[in-house]
């Protein structure tokens, strides 16, 4: 409350933040949190912002009913009693957890000491043109929609084949130099679609963040590069008749070479990864440092908000420069409104180009006989629908997302997980059962793990967060989701009971690793069963909860425009061509026929390369 100007009434947000963090005016950094909280809210889409403000208003109204005054007018003790009463209502705890997320983001950002700004490296050159400066009418041999893992590779292949390629990217170009010196949270809201608040609706709901920048999600992913498992390749090729899978080996080699993929050296692994390795070793489980695309990684632990040292070879540093050197151009800040198709011809309609919206209003068009859609699994279906090309009944369905959850272990010594490799170690003991554990330490507040407690208890957890090591688990899921909508993607995901059970198994396994590594207690992130002090207690807790009570995230949407030989099942044919139209290729995660079961960047790049190579130029 101390930053408030004299005579200005405290806002509901200030009261809410103070109540949630148990701030009695004695925490130096807490005074800056409300402003940061407001700034974070401002970056969220209007419906999410309205929901958070509604929640804040509801808590404030509860305080008025209980005490006759709003939260901002209460003293610390009164606020503590209000949130304690709320916390005693089990039905409200999951909702309060949702409200805690932006507060924790803001609090962790203000609490953390500013990281020293590394010397900004010089990125390889890109030919980027802001949408405002792109002419209203232009032509190209190929238009690539999206510059992520799939789009970048397709653009590179086509440009090197001699085509005049234009890449249309909705996000902006964020060079590595722009990351240095800026708080992770600021970068987070810039680099993610909807400020990182995109979600899949379901029971339970899943947070589903995706990147929006030149380079797509590869700018904000962890840099983990798994090759597509052989059994997945075999399934795609044999069961689905997906031709790119036949040559995936070569394409994966090519992608690995482009990204300079190598096993992460141990020197900058960080305590989080070392503890995971130690725990797995004691259990005798298969584990090791992950293969990553970050040669010379300095262990900044900021992969998910843009690598500040330029070590992580996101496609904007590795693939797009090649494409631009071959003549490709990237239009930034440009959202493709629709794919233009000429329908007055014998047979199927033919792609003619794209109509693109400029950010400040207005539009431009690029005519091209070849359109490569790589807008991501969440947005490719909407683009095809609003282009009149979404007639296939299975477009948007078949969504796999790799549901994921996190568990933290509290250790006696500081872990300082903010120093080291963000996603460092993979534990593959349960991988054949569809469970992949990865030691993942996100920047402050950005983990899918939510600290338990409210008020002073939450504050204590926050202050003690340096002693937490975090493990994440993702599971190979059944395609239980669906993307609907034309202008905005509406994602629905009904977690399959089998996958729910896998997630509970994963939580237990992560607890095992953490206890084996010497954790004093394990924080489950489950509101009704937040902590366990040993394995037995954890097992008892897990026996009482259901998978619907898990706090879930998802990171790798795939399969919404699946490729395959069966025209009734697959909206895209076995070579990556959209059915029902000539001249539209799909080259992103949406074309994968099923869940890749590992972090999908390499798989998407390899498939995009195969799709682009298969197209006669």
């Amino acid at each position: 409350m101390r930053t408030r100007a004299p005579g200005r009434a405290a806002t509901a947000s200030e009261g809410f933040v103070a109540a949630l963090l148990g701030d009695g005016g004695d925490i130096p950094w807490a005074a800056r949190v409300p402003a940061r909280f407001e700034a974070t809210l401002a970056a969220l889409p209007a419906p999410v912002r309205a929901a958070v403000r509604g929640g804040v208003a509801a808590v404030d109204a509860y305080a008025r009913v209980r005490t006759g005054r709003p939260l901002a007018a209460l003293n610390a003790g009164e606020r503590e009693s209000v949130v304690a009463e709320l916390g005693r209502r089990p039905g409200l705890v999951p909702l309060l957890d949702l409200l805690k997320v932006p507060v924790l983001l803001a609090a962790a950002t203000e609490r953390a000491a500013p990281a020293p700004a590394p010397e900004p490296p010089k990125d390889p050159p890109l030919t980027c043109v802001p949408a405002a400066h792109w002419p209203a009418r232009s032509r190209a041999d190929a238009v690539v929609v999206g510059s992520g893992a799939g789009g970048a590779v397709a653009a590179r292949v086509l440009a090197r084949a001699g085509l005049d390629v234009v890449v249309v990217e909705e996000g902006e170009h964020h060079p590595t130099s722009s990351f240095a010196g800026r708080a992770p949270l600021e970068r987070f809201t810039d680099l993610y679609r909807d400020g990182g608040a995109s979600a899949a609706f379901g029971n339970p709901p899943l947070l589903l963040p995706v990147g929006r920048a030149v380079g797509g999600t590869t700018v904000v992913n962890s840099g983990t590069c798994y090759r597509t498992p052989p059994h997945v390749q075999a399934r795609w090729s044999g069961r689905f008749g997906f031709a790119p899978a036949d040559e995936l080996g070569v394409r994966l080699d090519e992608a690995e070479a482009l990204l300079r993929v190598a096993v992460q050296p141990l020197d900058v692994l960080g305590a989080n990864g070392r503890l995971a390795l130690a725990g797995a070793a004691r259990l005798g489980w298969r584990a090791g440092p992950l293969r990553r695309n970050a040669p010379g990684c300095a262990g900044s632990c900021q992969c998910v908000v843009g690598c500040p040292t330029g070590a992580k070879q996101s496609v904007q540093l590795s693939v797009l420069p090649d494409a631009c050197a071959a003549g490709a151009r990237i239009v930034t800040g440009a959202r493709v409104r629709r794919i233009l198709a000429d329908r007055d011809r014998p047979g199927l309609p033919r792609a003619a180009g794209v109509r693109v919206e400029r950010p400040g209003g207005g539009a431009f068009e690029i005519l091209s006989g070849l359109v490569v859609v790589a807008a991501g699994a969440l947005h490719t279906p909407g683009l095809l629908r609003r282009s009149g090309l979404g007639g296939h009944p299975r477009l948007g369905s078949n969504l796999s997302v790799h549901p994921a959850t996190s568990v933290a272990g509290r250790f006696e010594e500081p872990v300082r997980s903010s120093s080291g490799v963000l996603q460092s170690v993979g534990i593959e003991e349960l991988h054949d059962r569809g469970i992949l554990l990865e030691a993942t330490a996100s920047p402050p507040g950005m983990s899918s793990f939510v600290l338990p407690g409210l008020g002073r208890a939450l504050r204590r957890e926050l202050e003690d967060a340096d002693r937490l090591a975090v493990l994440g688990a993702m599971i190979a899921d059944r395609p239980s989701g669906r993307v609907t909508g034309r202008d905005r993607a509406l994602v629905r995901y009904a977690l399959h009971p089998r996958d729910g059970r896998r997630l509970l198994t994963a939580v237990r396994a992560m607890g095992q690793v953490l206890f084996a590594a010497g954790a004093q207690e394990v924080l489950t992130g489950i509101p009704r069963a937040p902590r366990a002090r040993d394995q037995r207690e954890l097992d008892e807790l897990l026996a009482k909860v259901t998978w619907r009570q898990l706090h879930l995230s998802a990171f790798h949407p795939t399969g919404t425009a699946a490729g395959g030989a069966d025209p009734e099942w697959a909206p895209v044919d076995g070579a990556g061509r959209l059915r029902g139209v000539h001249g539209v290729l799909v080259a992103d995660g949406s074309v994968l026929p099923s869940c890749p079961e590992v972090n999908p960047q390499l798989s998407i790049m390899a498939v995009a390369s195969a799709v682009a190579h298969a197209h006669p130029t």
Binding site: P135, A136, R137, L340, R343, D344, F364, E365
Partner: protein, 462 residues
Amino acid sequence: MRGTSFTETLYGTLRLGADGRDRRVRLDLRAEADEVLRPHRTTTARLSGRLRIAGSGESPDVSGELEISPIARRRIRYRLSFRLGGRSLALDGWKSVTWRHPVTSMTVLPFTLYEEGAGVGAGTLCFPLTTGLLPFLLGFRFPRREDPARYAAPRWDGSPGRTEVWYTTLTDPATGTGVWLHHELTAPADGSAPVAHGWVATFPREGKVRHARFGPAPWPVPGPADGFRAAGVTSTPGQLNGAAGDFHWDLTEEALDAPLFTFPRWSWWRPLLPAAHLLPAARAAYHGALHDGERTLTLRAAPGASARIHGHGNARRWAWLHADLGAGDVLEIVAATANRPGLRRLPPLVFLRLRHRGRTWPRRPERSAAGLLGVGRFSARIDGPEWTATGRTALRRIRVEVSRPADRTLALEYRDPDGSRAVCRNSEGADARILLERWWGRWRTEAAWTLHGTAHTEVGDR
């Protein structure tokens, strides 16, 4: 099949190069399509016109292509190429039609300028709706698009008493010599075998007229499908060759204009009139060589035309004129009195066709011959070596005076299928004076042409 033609003028601005300055632009275009414009379909038209850029000069020879597809593709695309200040530039732009903004999207044309494939400028052109819409709509024409070769094929169906002619007249621009090539098929009325014959004649500016006949020769069975091929002489689309007496010739014909129907179009396909006459191409250019026993003419783009006649025989009296007026204009007149009982006493029916500035007047051949229910017919006065034709429509009138010099006239005998004879006096080196006037408060001269020795004419009687 009909085509479409219209003109359009667009105004706007252009930013060329790095100076960042907007320049005012005016683009005048003429679009011609080989099919009727159907808004729900895609129509491709040829574009030609002129581009003027304030401060940067103008390009008078803009050419390109227009893709008209406001509904099917929701796009009207202009692709033009032109030279400006020594640079070869290409303009590529399109109106993106949307039902949300029908007027704006149909009138605003954003474009990009390219030089050697690289964008060097951009701008926007607008169609001025308030001042431009009415002329734009009134300027739409749907002219027929026909292949001249279609009219070269023989029409004779084996009936007796028919005659069919392929003739070509031209003037060598280098020497002023006129040339007449006449190819005829006659199917006698008595049912005897048809014969092919004809002649060739030259009309030098100095010296006497020379001619030679070929045939008669039997008409081949089956007959040729593409024109006249008999007696060692050929007259087919694009090709004229043969030999007769001292003459031999080998010419190629390049059609320069659409067909011109001297008689009503229907009369060619439904032979209800005693005869029908047409020009497969109103103008043509001839290349090649012709030797007449004394001189060899080397023709390069010699103006002229080929014509076709199909009917029962020659008229009782007739006069004919073909006059190439230059600049794409041409005048064709056939004034004739039929040789049928009851019709012989009538004054000549005048079929006058003037193709001027791309349009043909009168609009229908029947207008000059039959008037409006017989009123306002064009008239002709055929009198010795000179003859005249006059006529008027509501707001336009014409007077044609033709003079046939005696020393450049060739008299030949024609023979009808029934054996009767006629005499024609032909000259491909005649003079003509043509006065076209338009009523605007008073009669004002619209155009006047005087031809000295380049008119082609014939007068015949019995």
